[in-house]
């Protein structure tokens, strides 16, 4: 494996892990929206 191969692999893995980590952090630290009545076909 060449140096550039290592760079490509580590950069790609870091990008996807950082993206997923940030998204899950934000999502899990955000309160759930309240349960609500939604308008549905069968109730129409």
């Amino acid at each position: 494996m060449t140096l550039l191969g290592w760079i490509c692999m580590i950069t790609s893995l870091s990008f996807v892990w950082a993206l997923a980590g940030t998204c899950y952090y934000l999502m899990l630290h955000d309160p759930e929206p309240p349960i609500e009545e939604v308008h549905h076909l069968h109730s129409a």
Partner: protein, 533 residues
């Protein structure tokens, strides 16, 4: 047990994200992605890949999530109804039929492939697939091919009469589980299952990854066949590939198919979200989960393991064998070389593929079920019976015409590729041009915790549709002529296309019936009423 679609809604934010991610993570993440990357410049492929993710995958995903939630607010859950309301166009409503047709037709063969994974997992768990550890690689490959041919009925048409009854039973089991989960409903069935299946899938992938990365140099006679060189085969960049249009098209195609955008699934799933749910963050999180599986597991496991045991030439041949060749012929040979742990790792691997497939296949049945309920106004039980009837016809044809998987490949070409591109472009145009990018932007940000960067307005209105249309045109230029000639020359292919045409006709009639019903119910199917928040 849920008996009707009344009041269906995702239970939690995580639930919908895992369900959408489960829909996206499939065999392509583990088997197609590494082949595409290795074939198109290795590490260099990641540049067009991430460009396509940012300029195509993420914005189309946001558009689909936003349109889905918008439709759900109006009590609409199917692609025809939602696209009609978004675009205020009757034509778009009927074109939206493609959003039901795609997942339904793909389910005909996808559940069959799912049955192969289940069959392989079962055989590995009970002793293997007949690949002897001490045999030569040529003999092992022949044994693996023979098992695959027998399991899939690839030698002759008529899988049920060719001794492949076991595979049929695995299909029946997989199909029943799928229908049961979908029948149970969004929260009690799909969400609950994906909440268990996704972490289990990650755990299985991690077990296999750890085993592969600790293989070292298993054969002292071939010191070059080691893990580091295996990773190098996948990741060493060849920058020349960046100047080739084929590389960019391959990257766009991989992102497009991997994220399940343009499948008619996200728009349906998002319609069950709460009114104030964050579609921007949810869409991005689901996308990032798919990328995590694809790059981390798909990018590190498959070709590395193949290289360590089969060497450079064996791995190149494996990549050329395509997704099925790599997954069902090469990997059993690789597992046979792993010693006593091989059958265990094989069972874990194929069970993981089965989970990846089933979380995808349930997402294919749900849009059709929602559409039948919505358009026909029948009970969930009756609509499930209709869905089962249609799927039995479609899947039986896929299984009967099993020789060389011609029927399956024809459906995959016309529905799983051609129509997916078409729907992706239609959805983006409906969102950015018919609904309007400013209105869509405002709709997307309702309840959003993060803001979409401003440049995405230009991306969603101009760049992504142009990119998509260019890739689609290039794709048609390369393939369409050959596909049409092949269909005209082969009765089996003609039958597959005929099935799609008949199914389209049925769905159009249902949409027509639905249109009348929706108007009688006073639903805003033309998108004329302004939502008051």
């Amino acid at each position: 047990m849920t008996q009707s679609s009344k009041g269906q809604e995702w239970g939690t934010k995580l639930g919908v994200i895992l369900a959408v991610s489960g829909s996206a993570v499939g065999l392509g993440n583990f088997l197609r992605f590494p082949g595409q990357a290795a074939d198109n410049g290795g590490g260099a492929f990641m540049i067009p890949y991430f460009c396509a993710l940012i300029l195509l995958g993420i914005p189309i995903g946001w558009a689909e999530w936003t349109m889905g939630r918008y439709g759900g607010k109006k009590g609409l859950h199917s692609a025809p109804a939602i696209l009609g309301a978004i675009s205020s166009s009757r034509l778009m409503r009927y074109l939206g039929v493609i959003g039901v047709l795609i997942p339904l037709a793909i389910s005909f063969y996808y559940t069959y492939i799912e049955a192969w994974c289940l069959s392989y997992a079962f055989h590995f768990a009970t002793g293997g697939v007949g690949v002897e550890a001490g045999a030569s690689i040529a003999q092992q490959t022949a044994a693996a091919k023979s098992f695959f041919t027998s399991a899939t009925g690839a030698a002759n048409n008529g899988v049920l009469s060719e001794g492949s009854i076991k595979t049929f039973l695995f299909w029946l089991a997989a199909f029943c589980v799928n229908i049961w989960l979908v029948y149970r409903g969004i929260s009690a069935g799909i969400e609950k299952f994906c909440s268990i299946a996704m972490p289990t899938m990650a755990l299985c992938a991690l077990i296999v990854l750890i085993r592969v990365l600790t293989l070292g140099t298993p054969d002292p006679n071939h010191p070059d066949q080691n893990v580091i060189n295996g990773l190098g085969y996948m990741w060493n960049p060849d920058w020349d590939y960046l100047t080739r249009a084929k590389t960019w098209m391959a990257a766009a195609g991989q992102i497009f198919f991997s994220l399940s955008v343009g499948f008619g699934v996200i728009i349906n799933y998002a319609s069950y979200m709460k009114r104030k749910s964050d579609v921007v963050l949810s869409g991005l999180t689901a996308t990032s989960t798919n990328e995590l599986f694809e790059v981390s597991f798909g990018g590190l496991i498959t070709l590395t393991a193949s290289f360590v045991f089969l060497g450079l030439h064996g791995t190149i041949a494996a990549v050329q064998g395509g997704t099925f060749g790599l997954g069902f012929t090469t990997l059993p040979v690789v597992f046979a070389h792993m010693g006593f742990l091989g059958t265990f790792i094989g069972a874990v691997w194929f069970f993981m593929l089965f989970l990846a497939a089933i979380t995808s296949s349930i997402s294919m049945y749900q849009p059709a079920l929602a559409f039948f309920e919505e358009a026909l106004g029948w009970s969930r039980r009756r609509c499930t019976a209709l869905l089962v009837g249609i799927c039995l016809v479609g899947s039986s044809m896929v299984m009967y015409f099993s020789k060389n998987a011609v029927f399956l490949n024809t459906l995959d070409n016309w529905v799983g590729t051609f129509l997916v591109f078409t729907l992706g472009a239609l959805q983006l145009i409906a969102f950015s041009w018919f609904f309007g990018i400013d209105r869509g932007w405002e709709e997307a940000h309702q309840g959003a915790r993060i803001r979409i960067p401003g440049f995405y307005k230009v991306v969603m209105k101009y760049v992504a549709p142009s990119f998509l249309i260019a890739v689609f045109a290039g794709f048609c230029w390369q393939n369409l002529g050959d596909w049409v000639r092949a269909v005209l020359a082969d009765p089996v292919q003609m039958l597959a296309v005929g099935l799609v045409v008949v199914l389209t006709g049925l769905l159009v009639v249902c949409t027509w019936a639905g249109e009348i019903r929706w108007r009688e119910l006073g639903l805003d199917i033309d998108g004329k009423k302004v939502e008051v928040e």
